[in-house]
């Protein structure tokens, strides 16, 4: 398809980034997860600053490739430069409200479920179960299937679930 070069805006790019799924939490886009720090557009050149949900996340390369592919496919985009920055620290508060229910349906407690920064030596506060909403839950392990998630168990609905680490 031949397209005439139209001018791309940062908002256009952000809209496309909202269609790129997170590889490990596919119901949610990388934009909804708050991974997009900055979008700069200069003619057909697009520069993106992203932040990883966990430093050294093994999905970083895959995300970079998928983002570059999606943005490169936009009419008027000639080149895409994707960079991961440490200028900001990702925290779960960066996740969009719109993603909270999608995370719950995926079995992951979104931010605001009661998780707090745990002090060494103290017990973690109960986190609301993403499946039934009960706070009769126990922390199983500070570790989970990906670096950014921990494991909990719900005594009410008797399901294991995951928690986005605070």
């Amino acid at each position: 398809m031949v397209t005439t070069a139209t001018s791309v805006t940062p908002d256009d790019v952000r809209a496309v980034l909202d269609t790129v799924p997170d590889p490990e939490m596919p119901p949610v886009s990388i934009a909804e997860l708050g991974m997009v720090v900055d979008v700069r557009v200069d003619g057909g050149l697009v520069e993106l600053d992203l932040v990883a949900t966990y430093s050294g996340c093994p999905a970083i390369t895959l995300i970079s490739e998928q983002v570059a592919a999606a943005v490169s496919a936009m009419p008027g985009v000639e080149s895409v430069d994707v960079r991961f920055t440490t200028d900001v620290v990702w925290t779960p508060e960066r996740i969009a409200e719109s993603a909270h229910d999608k995370l719950r349906a995926f079995g992951i407690a979104p931010p605001g479920s009661g998780q707090t920064l745990v002090q060494i030596g103290s017990r973690p506060a109960p986190v609301a179960c993403p499946l039934c909403g009960s706070t009769d839950t126990v922390a199983d392990s500070p570790f989970g299937p990906t670096p950014c998630r921990s494991s909990s168990y719900c005594n009410a609905c008797r399901n294991p679930f995951e928690v986005l680490k605070p």
Binding site: S55, G56, P58, T86, D87, I120, S141, P142
Partner: protein
């Protein structure tokens, strides 16, 4: 390699993380129970991920890509402390080293948070958040083993004595320490960081009634302690006038390692050496 003094700083950080991460991964599948399998696998993944962050900074300074830096050097090019290259041993030694290492890492990351080098200071933000989980895990097990039964406490004490003898290597001054201190890249010397670390662990160990394990450390501080278990070196050449004496687990920051490094290096870099230039 570039002569930028910051290279020796980030390689020390990165190599420690890479090698301890690799050692932690040896518990994958064979830890005492499934939760610890998950814990050590996850911590290993974190530490290797953190190594990638530091190799990324080294890459900017040297122009070499992070994979080449991480996996493409000869053994005497690695700057990790000897403590992190030791095999896991039993659970007592594993917990002891994990606790001593992660407590030391907390001290050095908090030090670097104030670095005049903005990129290094910036990297500590996410790392410190993530390392809390390692520290919690280590202290939980320190407490649990120290609380008995007797066999657990004995093994923990033996592990602490062995690991403490080599822990000074974590704070071995870097070859370019003076330059790094002068321009504020390193806000606090490694000697001072070690004092801060000793204060923290002395508090924890006293609370558990096992502070006597620090005697070896204290003697080393006074220059009287001589480690006997870390004598085998890959390279005995003196690169900078220091003796190739491994007492206190020193030598790693100058590329001098124990025999235990050879096996972990071969395993760690095997795929990279077998398939040069491969991407995955």
């Amino acid at each position: 390699m570039s002569t930028d003094p910051r290279v020796s700083l980030v390689l020390a950080l990165a190599d420690d993380e890479l090698v301890i991460g690799h050692r932690h991964s040896h518990w994958t599948g064979v830890a005492p129970h499934v939760e610890e399998d998950l814990a050590f696998s996850s911590i290993a993944q974190d530490e290797i991920g953190h190594a990638v962050v530091w190799y990324g900074l080294a890459a900017e300074l040297t122009g070499k890509d992070p994979d080449t830096l991480g996996l493409g050097r000869q053994p005497d090019g690695y700057r990790n402390a000897i403590l992190v290259e030791r095999p896991n041993g039993d659970w007592g030694y594993t917990v002891a080293r994990h606790y001593l290492y992660d407590t030391a890492e907390d001290v050095r990351l908090r030090t670097l948070a104030d670095s005049a080098w903005a990129a290094a200071a910036g990297a500590t933000g996410a790392l410190l958040r993530e390392e809390r989980y390692h520290l919690m895990h280590a202290r939980l097990w320190l407490d649990r083993l120290a609380s008995g039964p007797i066999e657990a406490r004995r093994r923990l004490v033996d592990g602490l004595i062995a690991a403490l003898a080599e822990a000074p290597g974590l704070f071995e001054p870097l070859p370019d320490e003076d330059e790094l201190l002068a321009d504020g890249t390193l806000p606090v010397s490694h000697d001072e960081q070690r004092r801060q670390w000793l204060e923290i662990i002395a508090g924890d160990l006293s609370a558990l009634g096992i502070e006597h394990v620090l005697q070896g450390e204290a003697h080393h501080t006074d220059g009287e302690f001589v480690a006997t278990s870390s004598g085998e070196l890959l390279s005995a050449e003196e690169s900078d006038g220091r003796s190739a004496d491994a007492s206190g687990g020193l030598g790693g920051r100058h590329g001098r390692h124990s025999d235990d490094f050879a096996s972990v290096w071969e395993e760690m870099t095997g795929t990279y050496r077998a398939h040069p230039g491969a991407t995955w």
